[in-house]
Amino acid sequence: MFIIERRASRSTAFRILSPVAAVLAALVFGALFLKLSGFDPLAVYGGMWRGAFGDAYGLSETLVKAIPIALCAMGITVAFRMALWNIGAEGQLYAGAMAAAGLALSFPDSPAFVLLPAMVAAGMAAGALWALIAAIPRAWLGANEILTTLMLNYVAIFFSEYLIHGPWKDPAGFNFPLSPAFSEAARLPAFGDTRIHAGILFALAAAAILTVALRKTTWGYEVRLIGSNPAVARYAGVSIPRHILIAMAVSGALAGLAGMAEVSAITGRLQYGLSPGYGYSAIIVAWLAKLSPAGILIMSFLFGGLLVGGYAVQFIGVPAAAVNMLQGAMLFFWLAAEFFGSYRVSLRGRFREVH
């Protein structure tokens, strides 16, 4: 029999090495899977690496994908810190995209310096409102936010499909389901001739603001207190329902901002497949980054690379879903690594300790 004991403290080396080990273990697992389905794992991983990080174009595309993932993951972090399981970033992203697109389509003649800030505000407000639909019944009735936020993802995506098939359909679009293109003023600027856009500044700013807000403000302290011990928080007079609403609104606003940036900078119109599941990848990113905004920036870059690398190896027949599977596997291995970081497993009767 094994005995499992809690470790007194975690070693620093372990804390740094365990995420690396988890990613490596997931890659080994993925390699076994690829091998089983008849691919050469080294060729696939090589292709993914070259596609994502091998040249300037790959790197720029990796950054482009990292932007929405990072913004969504930061939103998720705010909620997760309070043990509020917002898994609706995907829908909140769509809500933000629809609101921003609505403004861009309604005011094609307004100048960029008015239109872009308005689109940012509208995108964030829409994301926040979408999250509040789930937050309000959670705050006062305790209705499970995991399920309501997830259901709202489907509703938001269907609503965007309704818009591009119906009222917002481009009359000159040869009957394709897409909205008319935005005016130039509604497009977030990109850097040079890459697709890397000003959204990257949003992500960096969000990381900086969140880091300070979570560490140095009363709000951040109360959020952490509720997350670790709601009973104590309540006893200390912290209003939990109010904090639930605030955290979910902030969470949704960041995902909404990601949606705004996607339609404004990348597609320039509302269309199908706005997000290949950024809101879901962001859940894994937030957790792998241990809910730290700086960690999220690094992990988002890695996950952006996974997506771009995944596209790059599709031409040799590897299904795009391999990447989703790999992301899920990373989370599993990371959870297992966490366990071995905080517990000691030994054989009964041998290394018995008194504690």
């Binding site: 209705a143 509703v155 269907f158 309704y162 599993f332």
Partner: protein, 308 residues
């Protein structure tokens, strides 16, 4: 609405509710033992695709069903190891399972899209019973897996509420330390229930790909795994109420199709939203109701058990 249309609607409701029912039944076992498994969507998808693949290879739907159950059980075993042995946060492990399973099913099913099933589903009207007006065509002109649910649900209820192992199961979910002191092996019960839950989810998935659809489409469960989780709350962890709830949710889905066929002036996208909006409404209403009546989840739900 004329009677024929009503009967068709209700019969579709039962059929559409069946995958939800199996998934919810599995989750009831799992949650009754004190473990939340949010990975239902992933397990259903992997069950659906494995069932479909094996049914095509062997030309036997029965082999497909067994494969789907094994696949669902295997995925659930990961969750069992994570939450029971490694004491990982159940919510995060479940989310990982949902995401992993979704990716895995698309990976496996890449070449199955558009492939027809060699042996299609056969409706099996029950002689005699199927002739009863209204009830007959709604309940007794279905397929084998629907009939199996009529038997399994009361059996599950009886097993949970009236047998000794069922008592142990409830004890483990309510108060694992006491159950442990009674001599019940908490870990073994939890492993068994989580894996059984996964097998039921896989079965629900196979019902979709082998009977209801019958085909493989990427992400074909379309959130049914999550709706099943809401159904468990609606059913207050009781198999009998889960059955009624599953048919109700199935009815909403069927209603969407029906309105579309009738050509009503509603956008099909709004009709597609119906099940999700209905789930939110029901979840909120029943959370409030359960709270008022002071009935709720098993006491130890979500908490890892650490033997002192």
């Amino acid at each position: 609405m004329e009677t024929g249309a009503l009967i068709a609607l209700l019969a579709t409701a039962v059929s559409a509710g069946t995958p939800l029912l199996y998934a919810a039944l599995g989750e009831i076992f799992c949650e009754r033992s004190g473990v939340l498994n949010l990975g239902v969507e992933g397990m259903m998808l992997v069950g659906a695709v494995c069932g479909f693949l094996v049914a095509i290879e062997t030309r036997s739907p029965a082999a497909g069903i067994i494969a789907a159950m094994l696949a669902g059980g295997a995925l659930a075993a990961i969750h069992a190891f994570m939450t029971t042995t490694l004491r990982v946060n159940q919510i995060i492990s479940g989310l990982a399972l949902a995401l992993f399973g979704t990716g895995l099913s698309s990976y496996i099913g890449k070449h199955l899209i558009g492939v027809p099933l060699p042996v299609g589903p056969v409706p099996m009207p029950i002689p005699g019973l199927s002739e009863i007006p209204l009830i007959g065509p709604v309940f007794f002109r279905q397929d084998l897996l629907v009939y199996a649910s009529y038997l399994l649900v009361p059996l599950a209820w009886y097993w949970i509420h009236r047998t000794r192992p069922g008592l142990h199961l409830r004890a483990v979910g309510e108060n694992p330390a006491t159950a442990d002191a009674m001599g019940v092996n908490v870990y073994r019960v939890r492993y068994a229930c989580i894996i059984a839950g996964g097998m039921f989810a896989g079965l629900g998935g196979a019902y979709l790909s082998l009977f209801y659809a019958p085909c493989w489409v990427e992400n074909m469960t379309a959130g049914r795994g999550w709706i099943a989780l809401a159904l468990v709350i609606f059913a207050v962890w009781s198999p009998l109420r889960a059955m009624a709830g599953a048919w109700l949710f199935g009815g909403i889905e069927a209603l969407g199709f029906r309105i579309q066929i009738l050509g009503a002036a509603v956008s099909p996208f709004f009709l597609k939203m119906l099940p999700y909006l209905f789930t939110i409404l029901v979840l909120v209403a029943f959370t409030a109701w359960n709270r008022k009546k002071r009935i709720g989840a098993p006491e130890a739900l979500g908490l890892p058990y650490e033997r002192e």
